[in-house]
């Protein structure tokens, strides 16, 4: 469903993505682990097209999308959430979701009708709000909801484009343990055929939700396999104990 081949990227002398090849099957839930600065977010940026790789390619549903701009990749079913909230701050939760749903349903550039009153937009907004537990806050502005709820909305906005592949960049970063638990439930609410790539710092959560795990270190894939194998990997323990304990 989503594949990278020999992706490579440097910022000046800093080599942040080294020959990364990944392959996600339809419906696969893959977690990316790795210490701070390992190049996880940079990899996401290249997957969605916000950054151009120096070499290598990105394939979505069997097609090479490396040359496609961000918006066109998104319209082909690739969606992401951000590590740092990237919301429409002055607007309500409902409006945030509606903007995304409007793009997906083709109502986003219509002059003769209001995208926010379209039944198909309402339907998506209601469904997503249910999935990510935003119903109680639906009419609140982003400025009025807590950080944890904003993290949920961050994922909700990405979901409202009804993607084939969803990339989530540390969806639980900065939220308390009970919210992390809630996130686990949230994942269970998502359709099983949705392909998920999740960057996650919390090891337990990662092992819990992942079908497969990729570990990045200094921009390089140092592990790729099932959670059981990762749990017993010596290399992973080294990286984990070496730099994650203090993270």
């Amino acid at each position: 469903m989503l594949e990278t081949r020999n992706l490579d990227k440097s910022f000046g002398a800093v080599h942040v993505t080294r020959d990364v090849s990944l392959k996600l099957e339809r419906g696969e839930r893959r977690v990316i682990l790795g210490p701070n600065g390992a190049g996880k977010t940079t990899l996401f940026n290249q997957l969605v097209g916000e950054l151009t790789p120096d070499s290598g390619s990105v394939h979505l549903a069997g097609e090479d999308v490396t040359a496609l701009p961000v918006a066109r990749r998104a319209r082909r079913g690739l969606s992401r959430s951000y590590q740092k909230n990237t919301l429409f701050d002055g607007l309500t939760v409902e409006e945030n979701l509606s903007l995304a749903a409007a793009v997906h349903t083709g109502n986003a550039s219509q002059l003769w009708s209001d995208s926010f009153t379209k039944p198909e937009v309402h339907e998506i907004v209601a469904e997503v709000a249910e999935q990510v537990n935003l119903m109680p806050y639906i009419h609140a502005r982003v400025s009025e909801i807590s950080y944890g709820v904003r993290r949920q909305l961050e994922v909700g906005v990405a979901l409202a484009t009804r993607p084939l592949v969803l990339l989530m960049d540390e969806p639980t970063s900065g939220v308390g343990p009970e919210m992390s638990k809630g996130f686990h439930d949230l994942l269970n609410n998502l359709p099983r055929d949705l392909t998920l790539l999740i960057i996650e710092h919390d090891m337990d959560l990662a092992f819990d939700v992942a079908d497969t795990i990729t570990v990045l270190n200094y921009g390089e894939v140092v592990f790729d396999g099932v959670p059981e194998a990762a749990r017993n990997s010596k290399l992973l323990k080294e990286i984990y104990l070496g730099s994650w304990e203090d993270a």
């Binding site: 969605v48 916000e50 961000v70 918006a71 066109r72 998104a74 319209r75 969606s79 992401r80 951000y82 990237t86 919301l87 429409f88 701050d89 002055g90 607007l91 409006e95 509606s98 903007l99 995304a100 409007a102 793009v103 997906h104 109502n107 986003a108 550039s109 219509q110 002059l111 003769w112 009708s113 209001d114 995208s115 926010f116 906005v157 484009t161």
Partner: protein, 334 residues
Amino acid sequence: MFRHNALRYAVLVALSLAALFQALTAEYFGLEILTEILILAVLVLALDMVAGFGGQVSLCHGALMGVGAYVYALVSAKAGIAPPVAMASAVAVTGVIAWVIGAICSRSHGIYFIMATLAFGQMAYAYVFEAPVFGGDDGLSGISRLDLSLFGIDLDDSRSFALFCLAVAGAVYGASVMTLQSGLGRSLTGVMHNEQRMRALGLTVWRVKADVFGLSGMIAGLAGVLAAQHVMYISPGLLSWTVSGEALVVVILGGLGTLVGPLIGAAAFVLLKHEISAWTDHWHLVVGVVLIAVVMSGANGIFGWAEARWGGWLERRMADATRKHEQEEVVSDA
């Protein structure tokens, strides 16, 4: 997201009634001032649409208005084509030019966007000034107004023309609200709040910006047509960047991104100009001081200030009133 609220409706009704009263009762000079306000109102609605709801602070809207005026003058006075057709061509041509400017400038932001639009405006000014067909420094004269004699209206009469401009301004306000509450307008607001996210959601951002800029240009062109018909003579000064600057001052003075605010701004600006120039030539100085005071107050213009003070209160009063009304209905039903 553009929303109407109780205060906005109240101000809108008050402004419309005041304008109507003025149009029906004023003498010649008063009608001239009213017409000037209404034409400026159309221009600043166009500007507020892109600057207030798209973050596109344009310094070429004066030039766009000038383009509209010149196209109208050329098509009607020089080519002798009927005014309604000339009006439509002026609006269309300005819209197309604005769309192209919007598309080209869509990647630039902030100060770069301002400078790019200023450059386009200056190019238009220089071209109109130098090309012989536009009459150069002398401008063009002998421009006629729309002929509405079919409906028994003589627009050469100042009162009728002022009422005509009032009707146009009302229609433009309605069109602006509809645009901002359309899918396109919603997306534009999304882009202003977070362009990166809108793109990541799959929106072709430059198209949305160009489309709204084009629509805004059509409105600016319409303001130009009215200006040409009003004075019946046009000169390149209409395209000067100071016109764009003044329009921006009016939008900020009234309240950026409120639509209603710029209407207040237009009225305040023109009235201030005429009142003050009666006793000193330095009216710019006074307007400048007023603008500084408004900006320094930290409020979003005159209307933004009023909305912060009374908007919520009025809204609650209205809500209470409806609730009471509903309760009474329930009681009378029972």
